[in-house]
Symmetry: C2
Subunit: 406 residues, 2 copies
């Protein structure tokens, strides 16, 4: 596989657009996006596990039961959650998008992200849709406009596409996503939309998506909060012309590997762009009793406020790492744990068999200055390993979230 | 019961002292404390559930198995955790304290709080002990000196004493505690030492302590981190002269009620003095299906970084509260949830049956300016209720924890 340009418009038969329709006060900020396939698609989605689910999430869960879909309409600025008429507005958005595209409402998935509790200005959405329709294009610019329309406090656009081969046929997969606060295992306020021209049976599409999600979006955390609106949706329209994948064969393996890699890369970008983040924190746990336990341990480290603040402060405070491993809920022999800090600047072992080592503080300081800081924990208890991603806790996180709504 | 002066020296037969022995660089900061009873005591303790336990915790768990104790020696500055010779130093500290007091090592409990991974300078402890012995007093000043010796990033001393009556006998209970980061349900880096002159069987002392802890220290959170060193210890020496409490009678009920109230008050003070905190956040959940579920819901709210940042920013962002209830793991009908913000400045209902209300933003702003902000959630699903305490997330939290070790 190789990374290519074009984002969600890279796969055959997908068009996209993004515009400012008036939900957000800033006229230079896109707030409504549309993604549509020339032909009906197999569709699969994963949604927030929060007990409180936004109306568009509840509606999508219903819509996607058919396993089919063709278009996605999504806004930023307002979450359309816990607000008067939230479900009514989600359905109006779905119907209006279907009407403008001349397809059935059952083929349209919807999404929203932003403030909870404020009613969605459906008239703004209705005004925006004809402009979106007019702007629909199969171009990198169109993907870019859609990617920007779903951003909230993100500072960087997240948009990727890859090209790979399945039995001689060229297949393309594209994706856009947004963070950037409230990101936590089991998905935070994250939206991710994937387009693919592969021909694949829907149950296999769902299975591959779920596996990729568990290895990527479910392994990142910004602040431990899980939102009401999280959604990960993939549309696969089959226009690549590969023989339909109907079983877990080699072609399926290729697809799931590529899908996982793309999702991991988008997840890493989301963690790195966590609200106020200055550093991506990658925690690699090895030697745990199982992969599940390795994941729990790594998540505990990247979720620890004290560890996150220490990385922000450039402080190689490994005691907080060991402490976070300790309160993860996993039982382990403390006297076997080794810990390293690493980055492009080098690597330093700071703890061996659960005891602190004398280490080169100057080197540690340089290591912690790099954009990506790796915390490596070797448990020496088994074969389980996992990688999770988070970010540091900064003044800007507090600033952004102290006055987000006002 | 009534609050009285004297702290841990208020109960009959207890002496205390606190000095600077040289563990901490600042000579004006006490770093070693001693508490001792004239006679042997029933002793009970609860310790961190972190899988990584500091040496003094492991040693105390062993020592306190006898159900007896007479003295507590504790230092701040260094946690004596995950450091070379940590257990050896904990035992040396125990033995040195026993020797200076002329009692057996099995009667001495030890404690440490501070940086993980750095060896405890046992010579400083040894130098400090004779001075502590000389300073031992049954006075408010002595309790104050001990309370200050266990503080780390706390900005306020936590020290309380109460007097109450059991069948005509005057009984006193005193306590000192320290926070203030890494405070989380199941105890954060918290140390709390209680002295009481009640006569009570040890199993009942333990039972009352555990219940009080569950309703107080296990219901506060500063940052979700649980430390390696948490300890809550009570010594009861029987000098009040009440008839020995040997069953769960009225006298026991009086004691457990008083103990719970004192622990709740210390816990509230610890939450209010969380690192960098400007506000105490009290979350009252009512109408949950059970008390357990109410506690899980309330803890989720006070632990939410987004809710904590919103309170810091004076933003009545109730969507984050509902969201935190939603990801707590408890299942509930979203369409029944009511939410209020309240404080000494008034009360405002912001969400009814899961939907946002139009509310007086100016009043909400005034409410959020008070030192204690109450978030009240009515689930309307049952009879379970619980109160948990936390604090806001501020620039100072990040500052304090960005360079704590360096």
């Amino acid at each position: 596989m190789k990374y290519i340009e074009g984002g969600i418009c890279a796969p055959k038969g997908f068009q996209a657009a993004g515009v400012h329709c008036g939900i957000r006060p800033n006229k230079n900020k896109n707030d409504l996006a549309l993604i549509v396939s020339d032909v009906p698609c197999a569709a699969a989605g994963l949604f927030t596990r929060n007990n409180v689910k936004a109306a568009p999430v509840l509606l999508n869960m219903e819509t996607i039961r058919s396993g089919r879909g063709r278009a996605i309409c999504v806004n930023s600025g307002i979450a359309n959650a816990c607000a008067p008429d939230d479900m009514k507005n989600a359905k109006l958005m779905q119907e209006a998008a279907a009407e403008i595209l001349g397809i059935s409402a059952e083929e349209v998935l919807v999404g929203s992200t932003g403030v909870i509790g404020t009613p969605l200005p459906i008239d703004a959405v209705r005004r925006g849709l004809p402009i979106l329709k007019e702007n629909l294009e199969r171009s990198a610019e169109a993907s870019d406009a859609a990617a920007r329309a779903i951003m909230t406090t993100d500072t960087k656009k997240k948009e990727l596409a890859v090209s790979f081969e399945i039995r001689g046929k060229r297949v393309k997969l594209g994706g856009i996503s947004k963070g950037s606060g409230m990101i936590h295992p089991n998905m935070g306020t994250m939206l991710c939309y994937l387009t693919c021209d592969i021909a694949i049976d829907q149950p296999l599409l769902y299975k591959a998506l779920k596996e990729a999600c568990n290895m990527s979006f479910n392994r990142i955390s910004v602040d431990g909060d899980t939102s009401t609106n999280d959604s990960l949706i993939i549309l696969a329209n089959g226009l690549a012309g590969n023989a339909m994948i109907t079983e877990e064969n080699e072609a399926y393996d290729t697809f799931r590997t590529v899908l996982k890699e793309l999702c991991v890369e988008l997840a890493r970008q989301m963690a790195a762009d966590g609200e106020g983040a200055k550093h991506l924190i990658t925690c690699e746990v090895s030697g745990a009793k199982s992969e599940e336990e390795a994941e729990v341990l790594a998540k505990s480290v990247i979720s620890s406020s004290l560890t996150k603040a220490a990385v922000f402060g450039g402080d190689a405070n490994w005691g907080r790492v060991l402490c976070a491993l300790g309160y993860s809920g996993v039982t382990f022999d403390t006297e076997k744990t080794d810990i390293w800090f690493a980055s492009e600047a080098g690597e330093v072992k700071v703890c061996e068999n659960g005891k602190g080592l004398l280490f080169d503080e100057a080197l540690a300081g340089r290591i912690l200055k790099e954009d990506e800081v790796i915390i490596r924990c070797a448990m020496q208890e088994g074969e389980g390993s996992a990688v999770c991603w988070g970010c540091d806790l900064t003044y800007d996180y507090v600033k952004i979230n102290g006055d987000y709504r006002t």
